[in-house]
């Protein structure tokens, strides 16, 4: 039984576009970056959205659950506290590592697709789940490089993760596109291999090409190819929700509204 259904189309709430998010038509739900909020001092704009009945889902970027380091339970507790503060039915982070060897990469780094990495990730995820008040969804990340010695495809890796932890999946179709471009992931096979019945919702974002590499910047327009992958996903399952992430180089309200409308058109095109 899905924890969340019929979220609709949403956008990542960011303080830089708080007024935009408030006044845009057709925002059915939002995500907040948990690390940017303080429990007990929610931004006025987020409170306003909650008062309107807009679901607010906390999204974390720093749990580093794919890291060999021990899980930082303070970070897990903060995420859970934000979930309770906004009454969220679910929280999320990524299948990645951020920190290792005492260093912080400042980014969501891919984990090796090995049994070792999967065992560690599973143990970390279970520990986080036991310390969270609501279910956890985990998102596929965009990789610029490929670890050697991969034993599983990305889809198989995520399927095993779900099987062993009962977590949900947050599928980012822009990250899937990035991996298809940069490390040769087969997107259709990925969608075939992951358990779509455990799909929490979907992320869509923009990026840009530099040379032969696609960079998932969240600071450029969404590519038609990414919307194409959203369509591919929608042809297999009706996603409970689809959310646009924009994190920098913010365009006009009109451009954001146009991107949301394009996403809605893809989702509605596969309805029924």
């Amino acid at each position: 039984m899905a924890v969340i259904t019929n979220l609709g189309v949403g956008i990542g709430w960011r303080s830089e576009i708080d007024l935009t998010v408030e006044r845009l038509p057709g925002v059915d739900f939002v995500e907040v970056v948990a690390e940017n909020l303080h429990i007990g001092r929610l931004p006025e704009s987020v409170t306003l959205l909650l008062e309107r009945g807009i679901p607010v889902l906390p999204h974390a970027v720093s749990l580093s659950l794919g890291s060999a380091d021990e899980v930082d339970l303070n970070r897990v507790e903060h995420l859970g506290g934000i979930a309770e503060a906004v009454g969220a039915p679910m929280v999320s982070d990524h299948v990645c590592f951020v920190r290792a060897g005492g260093l912080d990469s400042g980014h969501l780094m891919p984990v090796p697709r090995t049994k070792d990495a999967l065992d560690v990730l599973v143990a970390n995820v279970k520990l986080a789940q036991r310390n969270l008040p609501v279910p956890l969804a985990l998102e596929n990340v965009a990789a610029l490089l490929e670890w050697p010695g991969g034993e599983l495809t990305e889809g198989q890796f995520l399927a095993e993760l779900v099987e062993r932890t009962d977590c949900w999946l947050l599928v980012d179709v822009a990250n899937l596109y990035a991996n298809a471009r940069n490390i040769g992931t087969d997107p259709e096979r990925f969608l075939d291999e992951i358990p779509l019945e455990r799909l929490a919702y979907v992320h869509v974002a923009g990026g840009v090409e530099h040379g032969d590499v696609y960079h998932d910047t969240h600071a450029h327009a969404v590519l038609p190819e990414v919307l194409g992958l959203l369509g591919e996903l929608c042809s297999r399952v009706k996603p409970p929700g689809v959310l646009l992430e924009r994190d920098d180089n913010y365009p006009s309200d009109t451009e954001i509204a146009t991107e949301l409308a394009a996403i809605r058109a893809v989702v509605d095109g596969h309805r029924g």
Binding site: E70, L103, D104
Partner: protein, 120 residues
Amino acid sequence: MVDDNGFPAARERLAAAQAELLTALLADGPAPAGFDEQRLDVERRALLSKRRGIVRMLGPAVADELGERFRPLFDAYAVAHPRRAGSRAREDAAAFAEWCRAAGELAVKRKARWKFWQSN
């Protein structure tokens, strides 16, 4: 029965591999075996660019004062001072400004305050 922090051997192997990769990407360490060197370079530049952008955003006055020197100075600072786990972006921005001052690249910050003992 596997305990919660199970798989100690797997954890140890993964820790070594992840630390080796981050040291290569962030602190000019040797390239780990099996990786495409060009892609390591792409990743290294992407991480540096992201960190530089955050420091520029958090300290626009420092970036403005440095002008065209900002980028080469930041890149030299960054590789010598990779971000430590648990550190905050604002600390990074402050440490960079301090590093520039120590190198004589930035004017020494003067706190505007009224010194009553100098006033007449």
